[in-house]
C-alpha cells in the first residue's frame, strides 16, 4: 500500500478495473496501438540455439482449431486418438527423442503437447515417418488440414503447418521480448529503443497479434538431459 491521494487519485488508480476502461482498452486503445505499432505474431516453437541444454527437452505446444467444434466433432477427434494408441506409442518409442507427449482438447482446439530432444524439423519428419497415418486422420479434422495430407506427400508443407500452429514461447527473461519484436519488425536496436515502461505495451501488442502463447520455456525437473540419457541412466533401454 502506498501513500493515499485524493479522491481523484483513488478514482484513477481504480480506473483499469472499471468496465468502461476495459471496454475502451479492448475496442479502442489496443487496436489503435496495434495500428500505430504493427507487431507481427512471433513464430512458434523453441528458438534456434547451438547450446546443448537448449537442444534437449524442447517444448511443442501444437494448437489445432477443429473444423467441427460440436461435441460430435470433438468426439471424432477423441476417437482418432483413442483408436490409434498402439500406433502412437510405438511411433513415439521409435522416434526415440520424446520425453512425453499427450493430446488434449481445450475448447475448440485439439492440442498436442510434447517435450522432445533435437531439431524441430527432424522431430516432425520422424513423426511423419512413424505415425504419419495417425496424423493424417487427426489433421483432416482440423481447419486447413486437407492441404497437407497425406503428410508423406507434403513433408515440407506439413512441417511448416505444424510450425505455424506451434505456440510462440515467450522469452524466459522478460526484457528479451524487446529484442524478439524488434527483430520481427525488422527494426534496428542500437540501444534500449523502447522505454522500459513500454514493456507491458509490447506484451499486449504481441498477445493481440498472437492470442495463444507459451509463458516461458517451462520448468524442467532434470534440465539438460536427453530422453536417451535418462532412459540409459535408469537402465530401461536404448
Amino acid at each position: 500500500m502506498t501513500s493515499a491521494g485524493g479522491w481523484f487519485d483513488r478514482f484513477v488508480d481504480g480506473l483499469p478495473d472499471t468496465a468502461v476502461f476495459k471496454f475502451l482498452s479492448a475496442k479502442v486503445l489496443v487496436p489503435f496501438w496495434a495500428w500505430r505499432t504493427p507487431t507481427p505474431p512471433l513464430p512458434g516453437g523453441p528458438r534456434p540455439s547451438v547450446q546443448p541444454s537448449e537442444n534437449v527437452q524442447r517444448m511443442m505446444n501444437l494448437v489445432m482449431p477443429l473444423k467441427d467444434t460440436s461435441a460430435i466433432g470433438r468426439a471424432k477427434a477423441t476417437l482418432a486418438i483413442a483408436q490409434n494408441v498402439d500406433e502412437i506409442f510405438a511411433g513415439l518409442d521409435n522416434v526415440g527423442t520424446v520425453h512425453f507427449a499427450r493430446f488434449v482438447l481445450i475448447g475448440d482446439y485439439l492440442c498436442m503437447i510434447s517435450v522432445y530432444d533435437g531439431d524441430f524439423s527432424n522431430y516432425i519428419r520422424d513423426f511423419i515417418a512413424t505415425i504419419g497415418s495417425v496424423f493424417d486422420q487427426v489433421v483432416k479434422l482440423v481447419e486447413g488440414g486437407e492441404a497437407i495430407t497425406p503428410s508423406a506427400n507434403h513433408i515440407e508443407a506439413f512441417i511448416d503447418w505444424v510450425h505455424a500452429h506451434d505456440l510462440f514461447q515467450a522469452p524466459d527473461l522478460p526484457t528479451d521480448l524487446f529484442t524478439l519484436q524488434d527483430a520481427a519488425r525488422g527494426t534496428a536496436r542500437a540501444s534500449a529503443r523502447d522505454g522500459l515502461r513500454l514493456l507491458p505495451r509490447d506484451l499486449i501488442l504481441q498477445l493481440h497479434a498472437n492470442p495463444n502463447v507459451s509463458l516461458g520455456g517451462g520448468y524442467r525437473g532434470y534440465p539438460g538431459f536427453s530422453a536417451a540419457q535418462v532412459r540409459q541412466k535408469l537402465g530401461v533401454g536404448w
Binding site: 500500500m1 496501438w33 547450446q51 537448449e54 524466459d172 526484457t175 534500449a192 513500454l198 520455456g217 539438460g224
Partner: protein, 340 residues
Amino acid sequence: MDDPGIAAKLVEALDASFPDGRQDLRPVHTFGIGATGFFEASDVARDYSIAEHFQGQQIRIVARFSNGSGSGVQHDGWSDVRGLAIRFQLANGAAADLIAMTLNEFFTPTVETFLKFSPATIPIAAERESAWLKIFDMLRLMLPMDDPYPGQKTEAVTGALKFADKHSYAQLPVFQAGALGAPVSYARATYHAVHTFVVVGPDGLRRPVRFTWQPVSGVLTTDRTSPPSDKYLQQELCDRLAKGPARFILMMTIGEIGDDFDDPSRPWPPHRVRVVMGTLTLDAVPDDQVANGELLSFNPWRLVPGIEPSDDPILRARRDAYEYSRNRRKAPPGCPFSRS
C-alpha cells in the same frame, strides 16, 4: 581488481546513492540479522567440488539476512533487494563465504558501467505521479509509476528507469528489481549468488557454475495493497526459528559454452543442468547480534580449494570493495586473500 582506488570509488558511489546512510555501518545491506545453523552437502556434491563444505559432513554456518538498502532508516515492508550471506565454518579455523541476493542479476556488467549507473540512481524527491499523467500512461498502454510509500521522501526508480532506457544491459535488473516486493520472511525468498564461480571436481574437471538458495518453505511476498510495516523481518525470523528450523536448498547451475560467464547482469537460461548441492538448516538467532551479525565481514572471495572466482569483473571488484568497507566501519578482519 588491482586498483585500490576503485574500491573506494565503488563504496563512495554507494554512499552517494544513500545520502541518509551511516559510515559506521555497511554502505548497502545496512540492516540485517544474524542466524546460525549448519549445512549438509548432498550425496552428489562431492562429485562436482572438492571444497570441504561439499564433502557431506555437517558444517556449522553463520548467516546474515539483510535488506539491500543502505539507508539509515529501516523499511522492511518496502520493495527492495534482500541479502543472504553465509559463512561456512570449516576445520582448523578456515572459512568460505557465499553471498547472495533476491535479485537474479547485478545491475551492470562491469565496474565502469556501475560507476555510471550509481550516480544515475541518486535519490530525488519522491512525488506521486499526477492522476492526469497516470491517465496519459494508461492511454499509451503503459503502467503508471508506483506511488511513494507513506512517509517516503526520496526515490531512485526514476533515475534507474532513465538509465535503463539508455543502457539495455540495465533493463532486466531494473525491471526485475521493481517487481521484487517485500518477503513475508527472510526464510521465504530465493537468493541468487549472481556471479560465476568455478568448481573443481575430484577428477580435476573445472565447471563454471552459479549458486542459488531456494527456501524449503516456499517464496512469498507481502500484499502490496496492505500498509507496509517498517520492522517485522527480524522478529519474524526469531519467532520462526524459535518454533523450528528454516531450511534452504543450495542449487548449483552449470554453465555452458555460449553463456555469459563473466557478466553478472545477464542470468543464464533456466534450462541448464542444475545440481542439488546440499541443505542449509538455520536453527537459532544468536542473542549477540553484534558479534554474530554486524561485526561479521563477508567477502565473496573468501573461498577454499575446490571453488574459485571467475573473471567476472564485478566479482573481482567486490573483493577490495568489501575490504574497504570493512576497514571503514572498523569491523574485525577476515582476510579473504589468506583463504582462512
